[in-house]
Symmetry: C2
């Protein structure tokens, strides 16, 4: 019934040649925003994914349930769906705890970083050395780090992705840098912007030929406590117990759903998000919201009864969080097709109001996207920025595909990111609906656009993907 | 050295008779506010209490360490200190967990309420019945509650004490009301104003001749999850495991520190706060801040070298959180003295900026306190409200002692109240200093005031204590 309603809404009277492409697009955009307001289903999809399936860490039963359910749901919406197999790392959290032993006994709020090796069952008890950066670590005298636990303690300076990205290497590479100096474990102050004694997990990795020392995040409050004790001249000792472990890689899949093109079905506009989440919360903002946007955009367009010029392909990537196997696997499996991928869009910055898009395109592409931007109804002052993209579509960008990241308002994103508090209540229903309509409009516009966006050249070193 | 500096600052030139009492008081107030800014120690006291001693639940080693340290510290400041023995309930938290079993497996963030009996080791697994009030519970059909777990799910409507107080009975009496209807356990949506997957603990009690069913709080997010599942028509089942238990009552103490009066030492102005805290956090806002204010007010006044007309007595009450044995014990031990208690002030509303005071006094007292209020530099629009008081001084009010509650800004108090996130970083150093000065000024003014405040009549039923 809803599909029929939407169909009537969206198909409407034929626009006629007089209106032209721009006018037809404006009219369609208006109808898509109307449709999500009247009969949007993004919220219900997200609620199912978070409430009924729950955490979706790669290799977990939740992740597999999410693959099955989204594929079924998209097929029921009338898309051409397949699951494309990949192998994913499988890391499982165990019991975990940390406590100060000296100068005072206090419990610490701790969580293992994804990929960490466990501690011995009795834990690791050692003195803590605090640094705010890799430079500070490198500057410590010989022997100051060996046998100790390094705490990387640096607060995020600004809310949003830039502030996060500036500090993220302390989490991802902390264990490597600490192990180089002989540390026995690495702790990182949680990468978050809310002090609610919440540890924030996230990916880390080990270096070849270096000891694989256990790595965990502690709550901001606990990092500050340790800082105060050290600043007072105390020797701080703590015990860290992590029961996490890495199991053999497991079979999993990306979910791929096509709305075939009417004129050039072999040319593809990809819209994507990642289906996996961390295990502490239910992954509502990271990245259930993006998944719901992709599913809803496809549903709306399919329900409209209109066929795009090029194929619009939704991809729900697996394993963005701790391996990027889905993004890499897609790029490998579709290598021959990539020259015909005219654009790839990713939604992975939460569920806040759309501020705009961040894009990496060839010369002249930026101006054309700026002209298009108002149709997405962005709330931000600078709706189109560059560079941009997304983690899962990074491998496509490397192959010359124009990439676009949806930029949701991330002012509160890092309050809850990678914590137990990443749950459905953090998402505003109306904003999610509008974000979904914007993604549908953008996909449609890219699928109709003549000529296609100019392709970007080789990526400069350090190009930001989001 | 600091004491000497303060002494010089505060004693200053003699005010002379010309200035009169009001002028002398104004001058002293100015000097006290100056002194805390220049050489305040409230923050350091609070830091020791929270960082170095930590959680202070009645009967715990932390509580006893707090008694010893505050008594020593106050004695070192030159006060006449004694500890007055009381017996306190001793409740210890054990392992605790909760998980949905149907319609989906999900972990819940849970914490036992203080005083709860444990579940069997394997937990209690049962269907959930959700209500928003005792009235809703009473209206449920016969048999709908028996054998089930009752979830009291009502969000706090407004930040601050009024919003909290409206919902608090669901936590304190929920197990009793649920047990009356045959429930096997009681859950309450956390009484908090921040959704950060934080369970908020707090006191509960059992009714005589009713089964003592286990009682716990779940995070707001989890209450909303269960609500959504039930609203969709699902049968929701969960397992609750609580390892908490009640040990025999333990010896503990109130800490009492006197600054003797120069003219009528037998008349007493009491300033108090509670030394115990819940066990999840370090009790910085509840009520370490109040303890620091009392200690700092006494230190400032002692360091001034001035002696008040009446005795100013600081009392650090034990066991406010789960028994009120300190408040009751003080009133009993000092029963003969209570007619000579001219006022009792309590600080137990966090560490926000002082908005004013809430008072319960006899006729004419309100106007006199309103005239005095500007000296406390309150930030609120209505600095003196009535009724008011505090939990620990409630038993004094029942005996006719005028009672006054310090009203700190509580807009964020219930974000962290009774959670693991009640830690030092939630306290602003400058605000804590000013609050301490205000308490010193108020104590001094009450100690000098002629005649003393009129005493209130018998408490009307349901009179609010805070």
């Amino acid at each position: 019934l809803l599909a029929l309603v939407a169909c009537a809404l969206l198909a409407g009277p034929p626009a006629g040649d007089a209106g032209g492409d721009a006018e037809r697009l404006r009219e369609l955009a208006g109808r898509l925003f109307e449709a999500v307001e009247r009969e949007g289903q993004a919220w219900e999809r997200l609620a199912h994914l978070t409430d009924r399936i729950g955490p979706r860490l790669s290799g977990s039963p939740g992740a597999e349930a999410a693959v099955r359910w989204t594929a079924e749901r998209l097929a029921a919406d009338g898309l051409a769906v397949r699951t494309e197999p990949i192998l994913v790392p499988t890391w499982v959290r165990g019991l975990e705890s940390a406590e100060l032993l000296a100068p005072v006994a206090q419990r610490l709020a701790v969580t293992a970083l994804g990929g960490s090796d466990p501690t011995p069952e009795a834990g690791i008890a050692a003195e803590v050395v605090e640094v705010a950066s890799f430079e500070e670590l490198a500057a410590l005298p010989e022997g100051r780090v060996a046998g100790r636990i390094v705490l990387f303690n640096r607060a995020i300076a600004d809310a949003g992705f830039q502030g996060y990205s500036a500090v993220a290497p302390l989490r991802t590479r902390g264990a490597v840098e600490a192990a180089k100096r002989g540390a026995v474990a690495a702790l990182v102050r949680s990468l978050g912007t809310l002090s609610a004694r919440l540890p924030h997990t996230g990916a880390m990795s080990y270096g070849a030929a270096l000891p694989r020392i256990p790595a965990a995040a502690i709550a901001a409050e606990d990092a500050e406590l340790i800082h105060r004790l050290l600043a007072a001249g105390d020797v701080v000792r703590l015990r860290l117990v992590l029961g996490c472990r890495t199991l053999p890689d497991a079979p999993s899949a990306n979910v791929v759903a096509d709305l075939p093109g009417r004129e050039r079905p072999e040319e593809i506009v990809l819209i994507g998000a990642h289906l996996d989440s961390w295990d502490l919360g239910t992954g509502a903002i990271d990245d259930g919201a993006g998944v719901a946007m992709v599913m809803e955009a496809l549903r709306l367009l399919k329900a409209s009864g209109l066929a795009p010029r090029r194929t619009i392909r939704g991809v729900l990537f697996m394993n963005e969080e701790n391996g990027l196997r889905g993004g890499r696997g897609y790029a490998e499996a579709h290598a021959a097709e990539l020259p015909r991928h005219v654009a790839a869009v990713e939604a992975d910055s939460g569920a806040g109001a759309l501020q705009g898009i961040a894009v990496t395109v060839g010369e002249g592409g930026l101006a054309r996207l700026r002209a298009l931007a108002p149709l997405l109804r962005p709330a931000g002052a600078e709706p189109v920025t560059s560079p941009g993209g997304g983690a899962d579509i990074g491998p496509l960008r490397e192959q010359g595909v124009p990439v676009i990241g949806m930029r949701q308002d991330a002012a509160r994103y890092f309050d809850w990111h990678h914590t137990a508090a990443d749950t459905l209540d953090k998402v505003d229903r109306a904003e999610l609906a509008r974000n979904s309509a914007a993604m549908a409009v953008l996909a449609w516009a890219l699928a109709e656009m003549e000529p296609a966006l100019p392709r970007p050249g080789p990526a400069p070193p350090g190009e930001r993907q989001r």
